[in-house]
Amino acid sequence: MTAVARPAQVTAPTSAPSRGRRQRSLSWLVLPALAFFVLFALVPLVGVVLLSFTSWNGQSQNIPFTGLESWRAVLDTPGLAHSLWVTFLITVFSWAFQTPMAILLGVFLAGRQRYRGFLSVFYIIPLLLSSAAIAITYKALLDPNFGLGANLHIELLKQNWLGEPNLALATVVFIVSWQFIPFHSLLYQGAVRQIPQSMYEAATIDGAGRVRQFVAITLPQLKYTVITSSILMVVGSLTFFDLIWVLTEGGPADATRVLAVDMYIEGFRAHQMGQASAIACFLVVLGLILALILRRLGGRDTGASQMEGA
């Protein structure tokens, strides 16, 4: 950083033409960040497109160009469609579970009572844990032979939670919600607190009940937060990897094989880097589309995309 700083310091302060408003260019200050970003984010982004036209095996020195072969392989097998479907299911279900819950909790937490602040101290803890740690914990908790159900002798809990396709999907949705509902509750809490108190006062004078106030004031006022939070959830679900990988490795029988897991297995297990890159291209395109939708819908909070699940 200091190396970059030098050249500008040598330049003597140039005379300011009009009222000191004109200054020397500050462009050099952006160079270190730009360099890192270009080399390790932008170049890989272009690289993933280029690699999708090869059939690199991930180990050899040469990377053979094979044109559309990887794309054909990816599009011809049902694998991609399946993982798109699984990703979609997880996205929809976790959105449908998290959003009402997070709004409810956010509205509740927005109250100024002491004990609610106390509660939110605990709500945060899942956000501090790594997805790997969460996955390992739940794996042990839900173990059909040695987990909670077996030890507490509760038949209902003695399910093969991660062993049956539909159940495994539901379990993933629950754990994802366990991990991220606190984050979204915080978003809603902040938003609710910004709703002008006078609106509620006016509504109370007009004789509106609580439910009415919630529907007529709180929900419309939260519109932008709902959009932001939903986009964060959706973009987050697009890139779920850590949790699912440690929890199920995409199983049982591909039931939880979301896009990112599919890509990882293709690339680093099956050594088909070309096909894995083609799958990654889907991730990129979907991510960009969602970001554009975000801009359209939200207007503000443009940068919100990758917050969750990162």
Binding site: Q23, S27, L39, F40, A41, G47, L51, S130, L186, S277
Partner: protein, 300 residues
């Protein structure tokens, strides 16, 4: 509280003049949400139970684990699991995680700060405008999608299986959001302050560190914590970019531990507790900052 004082309080409440109706209504308003209250306490239980279970179980001997009620604390708590884990090169992974996290967060935040300063203070320049646009676009790039070219790049740079391999991409992916949050904050610094420092003959470099840096401190703390947590908990980069056990960071080592200890759940959970401890300590020390850091500055 004795019955007498209770009774006294009750009569006092009865005799006290009613509050102004407006305030009473407001108070009632804050008390209304029974559904929310139900959800609030329910979710507390949902969150706390697994965490309580982790802690309690990590203190049990392995033989007790299968026999005892999972939620009853052990009658003879043991630190044996922790000893076993600490003997098992936990320290190594911990140090690796610290190196990678600090090694990535400090440069990322400093570079993002410099970039944000330039973008705000000199933003009409085409170069800076387009750089800013590039960073904004960068927010939409998922790390997962670029992992294969990053893997190739790291191999070509002969950095595979080193700690630096994890640091470099972590920096790059921390930059877009950091620049966004920091530049939003620097924008609020009154430009009169810069002007008066300039009149005093300060260079941009001096204004950057002596004026903007201290004034931006809350936002700097926010992005530091947000990026720190993301990188500390990162799993994909170590998974793809390392292979030897002594280069692993904690989250990856955790899943390896799980394989290693197999069905020794208490020992695995001891690792979970040990991984969480430093973050929890940070959380207790600086709760407000962590709260804002967690949401990356989105809940102001």
């Amino acid at each position: 509280m004795t019955a007498a004082t209770l009774e006294a309080a009750r009569t006092e409440a009865r005799t006290r003049k009613p509050r102004p109706p407006m305030r009473k209504r407001l108070k009632a308003l804050l008390h209304w949400n029974w559904l929310g209250g139900l959800a609030g306490w329910f979710w507390l239980v949902v969150v706390i139970l697994p965490i309580y279970w982790i802690v309690v179980t990590s203190l049990k001997a392995q033989t007790d684990y299968y026999l005892s009620n999972p939620f009853v604390p052990p009658s003879n708590p043991t630190l044996e699991n922790y000893r076993a884990v600490l003997d098992n090169s936990f320290i190594r992974y911990f140090v690796n995680s610290v190196i990678v996290t600090i090694g990535a967060v400090v440069p990322a935040v400093l570079m993002s700060f410099m970039a944000a300063y330039a973008i705000i203070r000199d933003g009409r320049r085409l170069f800076l405008r387009s750089t800013n646009g590039l960073f904004l676009m960068g927010l939409a790039i998922p790390l997962q999608a670029t992992i294969i070219p990053i893997y190739l790049l790291i191999i070509k740079l002969k950095l595979y299986d080193t700690l630096i391999a994890m640091i470099l991409p972590s920096i790059a992916f921390a930059i877009p959001l950091s620049v966004l949050v920091l530049s939003n904050f620097i924008r609020d610094v009154p430009s009169e302050l810069f002007e008066s420092m300039r009149v005093d003959g300060a260079s941009d470099w001096q204004m950057l560190w002596r004026l903007a840096f201290p004034l931006t401190r809350p936002a700097l703390v926010t992005v530091t914590i947000y990026n720190g947590l993301t990188i500390w908990n990162g799993f994909l980069l170590p998974l793809v970019l390392t292979q030897s056990p002594d280069k692993q960071t904690l989250p990856l080592a955790l899943s390896a531990f799980q394989g290693q200890f197999g069905i020794n759940v208490p020992a695995t959970l001891a690792v979970v507790v040990l991984t969480l401890l430093p973050i929890l300590a940070l959380y207790i020390l600086a709760r407000r900052h962590v709260m804002s850091g967690l949401s990356g500055g989105f809940t102001k």
